[in-house]
Symmetry: C2
């Protein structure tokens, strides 16, 4: 198992050339005379030489590695982000260093700071507000944020959360719903934007939004919150959930409670996780293009690494995906 791998010097000796020549050969930096090239090739093959990326990185200052932090890899939204980012990284010969902060706000900073030292750049998904994120500027590494950063000179990608829930609310309104509730996740920074979008839409129709809160952005939390929402004094005709996971849990529990979906209550999510389509009823949601977001974030970072600075926010358009979990209000 343990092998002292050959160094560039071993190759140089075996091929009868200098280490500089070997180095240049390895990097395909220039052309060589036939005999030298032949000897080089033979020696490398013979010794099974592979250049040490660490040593190389130390000099070049580049690791060809990109760090990506997600809040929870179990959430299919982030899984898709990783998928997209990874695809672009691979294409540009970068590798992904993944860090899952596990929804642990306190760990975020130290984890990210440690990560920053081992990579050429980072894509960060964080629960911190812009004000709390200033230290990121001192990381000394190019950065892309996975959300809008209004007050930070950091490129970012995200979606229009306000519009997403506005669209959802409009859809419910069109179906005739008047009693609409929002089951949010207060700890997410974007929760407020989503509430605002829904409120704006409802207020235009002279309606108000009942807001509830789930304790986590998970299906389990959605299940947990269901009875509180549906068996309380203000039973809604439709429930907009913070994300698909919560919506899925909510729907399951609603069924357990004896409610018929979507007849008794319409439910919506946000994210368009792959599984929403396979739930029954299939979940009406808003596609936020998670995979594309990951791709673009990575592309921006790689561009930045290549010197093409692009300090700007790219906002993906949310797209309403009407499926079976929403129906006309009886």
């Amino acid at each position: 198992m343990k092998k002292n791998s050959p160094t560039i010097r071993d190759v140089a000796a075996a091929a009868g050339v200098s280490v500089a020549t070997v180095s240049k050969y390895m990097n395909g930096a220039q052309r060589f005379s036939a005999p030298v090239e032949a000897k080089l090739k033979a020696a490398i093959e013979e010794l099974g030489y592979r250049s040490n990326p660490l040593a190389r990185s130390m000099i070049t200052g580049r690791t060809r590695t990109i760090g990506l932090t997600v809040l929870d890899i179990s959430n299919p939204h982030f899984t898709n982000v990783v998928k997209g980012a990874n695809r672009v990284a691979l294409r540009h010969d970068y590798t992904l260093l993944l860090v899952d902060t596990d929804e642990n706000q306190a760990r975020e900073r130290p984890l990210i700071e440690a990560l920053a030292q081992r990579v050429d750049g980072l894509i960060v998904s964080s629960r911190m507000s812009d004000d709390e994120s200033h230290w990121m500027l001192d990381l000394g590494k190019p950065l892309v944020l996975m959300r809008r950063s209004e007050h930070l000179p950091i490129p970012s990608v995200g979606i229009d959360n306000r519009l997403a829930t506005y669209m959802l609310a409009r859809h419910l309104l069109n179906l005739g719903h008047r009693q609409i509730a929002y089951l949010g996740f207060g700890q997410a920074r974007i929760n407020d934007e989503r509430i605002r979008g829904a409120r704006e839409c409802l207020e235009e129709a002279g309606l108000t939004l009942d807001v509830y809160d789930a304790h986590a952005p998970t299906a389990h939390a959605g299940e947990h919150a269901c009875s509180r929402v549906m068996l309380g004094p203000r039973r809604p005709q439709a429930v907009m959930c913070y994300n698909d996971l919560i919506a899925l849990g909510f729907m399951k529990e609603a069924a357990s409670l004896g409610l018929k979906l979507p007849q008794d209550v319409s439910v919506t999510g946000v994210d368009n996780v792959p599984f929403g389509e396979y739930a029954s009823p299939a979940l009406t949601t808003v596609d936020i293009q998670s995979e594309k977001m990951g791709e673009l974030a990575m592309q921006k970072l790689i561009d930045a690494l290549a010197g093409h600075a692009d300090i700007g926010h790219t906002m993906f358009d949310p797209r309403l995906m009407v499926r079976e979990s929403t129906a006309a209000c009886r």
Copy 2:
């Protein structure tokens, strides 16, 4: 954005000590006189010094990074593996270098070889057979395989695939089913083991297994295969799927075809992905403890790194999760 981070020499100069002293201090290698310690602390704080892990790794030969390759991070099974592995890694102060081979058999080897150079050890999930995997022994790094490796001196973790499908088949038999089909994924090495388990069980009852094949281990492929299985000449009373994703897709399409689940056909999966529980009907499956598998794989690797060699296979027990997608045969 760009900052020349201070080096150990800057700190040494600022504190009026030698670099060796700073190094020892950073590594908590020994105790220091009060004045020196105070100056060190001040200088480090002042300059915001953080030691360069690359330079350190070059000397120590250790990166405190573990490489993990998965076939497809979109598959919740692997997501859970990552989750478990990451948790243990973090606890031991290691970081995860994730590589998604994207079900691309050809890319596996180069990707893994490249990965091996940047990490202290690897956890590998691969489609290659033992015979095709001998090159892994020459990686020069501790390795843990995510499946049984009969003929390779490499520690591994996995589950008893034969038993998993045996249990499932027995369950279906108990429910009175006699016409049982298996919708597999032929490209997976473990597909054969799963077929064998189901066959053994059925043969004990004098029955045979109809085998079909999905073109991918995904929900989409399950959907695609459904009509072929259900509308063919040998319509089964129950269908055992290679994994939960295929099963979920299969169920959705079956519903579209006008079949009532589980009355018209019982369906089972394997993996116990989180969403199976939220499908309707909830999916009967076999839990393979994906997260625990990730945890143990990482633990084994870290043990190996610490010198505690453990060349052996650990097999997790599959656990039947009976839910609503299976019912007594009419």
